[in-house]
Amino acid sequence: MPVLAERGYLIPAVNTDTVDYLTCAVQLAKSIRQWHPTANISVVTVGNYEDPVFDHVIALPYGDLGGYVNDWQMFAASPYRQTIKLEADMIAASPIDHWWTLFEHRDVVISQGCRNFYDQPAQSRFYRKIFDSNQLPDVYNAITYWRLSHTAKEFFDLVRSIFENWNRFKKLLKFAEEEPSTDVVYAIAALIIGPEQVTLPAGLGPNMVHMKRHIIGTGSNDWTQELVWELTNPGVRINTVAQWGLFHYQVKDWLQ
């Protein structure tokens, strides 16, 4: 993909039988535009799709390989010299453009850790056992920055290689997943390339609010039925607390 702009947000969104990721991506793009009306935002998907909220609708360069495996294609798909890739099922609860200043001196930055809706670092390791057992860096691909660089190419080549050779890589891990998740693949790639090359020092970079049950302490997975939520347009409040940064809502049909 030729470079069409210096900086932009890239949202992968390929619908599945159960999840309408394209609608999630539209909501995310709208939430970013509420804070940053002139932001460059592109969606990466399959098939014919148009929505004026996106500057570009980009087809997966190598076609739909199925599920998470498509992730390595984002490097080739991005029309930006500097890209922030965002998972679709999030919304921007506050301005995020100061991230560019934070990231611009690095080739790759993967976010680390996550927060609960009180802006406290997540304490539960329930979802991160494989990371802890294998001493993998605590990365979350939901927010990933890269600039066109040798480091970024090397990183995404590694991501591709790990996805395509998962049967071999998983033998190296304790409690390996049968199918690789993007976070685990990113963590292995980060470990190979050197975590300091692709992350910021812990606590420095942005991370997301993660609305998973064991992180936020709700009784069920569907927090929308348990917590008081308010869309403040722009922004969102959970149990009256104003959220900031990216808000990973998990319940995919929350805004649909």
Binding site: Y118, V241, A242
Partner: protein
Amino acid sequence: MNGALIFAFNNEQIDYVRMAAWSARSIHRHLDIPVCLVTDVKVDDTVFDRVVQTAAGVSTSRHFSDFGTNVIWHNGSRANAYELSPWDTTLVLDADYVVASNNLATLFELDQDFLAHNHAYDVTGRNDFSGLNCFGRHRMPMWWATVMMFRRSKQAELIFDSMTMIRDNWQHYRNLYGNSQGTFRNDHALTIALGIVDGHTLDHSAIPWSLASLTPEHELQQTDADTFRVDFTTDNNKSKWIELCGQDFHAMGKKTLGDIVASTC
């Protein structure tokens, strides 16, 4: 003018006025500021520089483990601190807060209109306070109303106005925050009020150290003017003690503090 404000409404078990008088002497000695007592009874004790008589207001029943019973708790008038205080800059203290140093004098030097603690801990290290530093079903981070510093300002006025609104509509806020405790608490009202005033950001200025606390099950003795011995039992039933010397603390066990006050006043 800087000054302290202590609320003291006696009940059948606890003589808060006497406790406040004991505390006032320490405040004079360490902080060198006048003390105003807010109470509902006539008080002649000259240790207080001012006495404001007012109705006890909202009262609730609360279980005090050191007394082994429910006691009537007249805690509803704290929200009126802004209008009741005669001082320009006010240090509101619980009657059971022990001033044993001049640490609190630092608060008057800070360029803040309102300050309170947002973290408390057990001085013995025996109790995990993570449950006490938050409230409600979803563990809202809590600010403590035990020590509050405020200046005459729009921000402080709004905080206390909001506390009054929350107190007067307690059932609504109790439901909103999933608070299973029926008893109205100033800590909860303060936390909610700070959220309202600061745009629900949890970004409130806090006293830059944690609130040392002593839970009711520990034994407290005064060994010198500003020295206290705390006896406690470990998990494996061993008796241990620590000494608090020149350390301010919140004596959550009113009975032991009441005994000290009774023996020294």
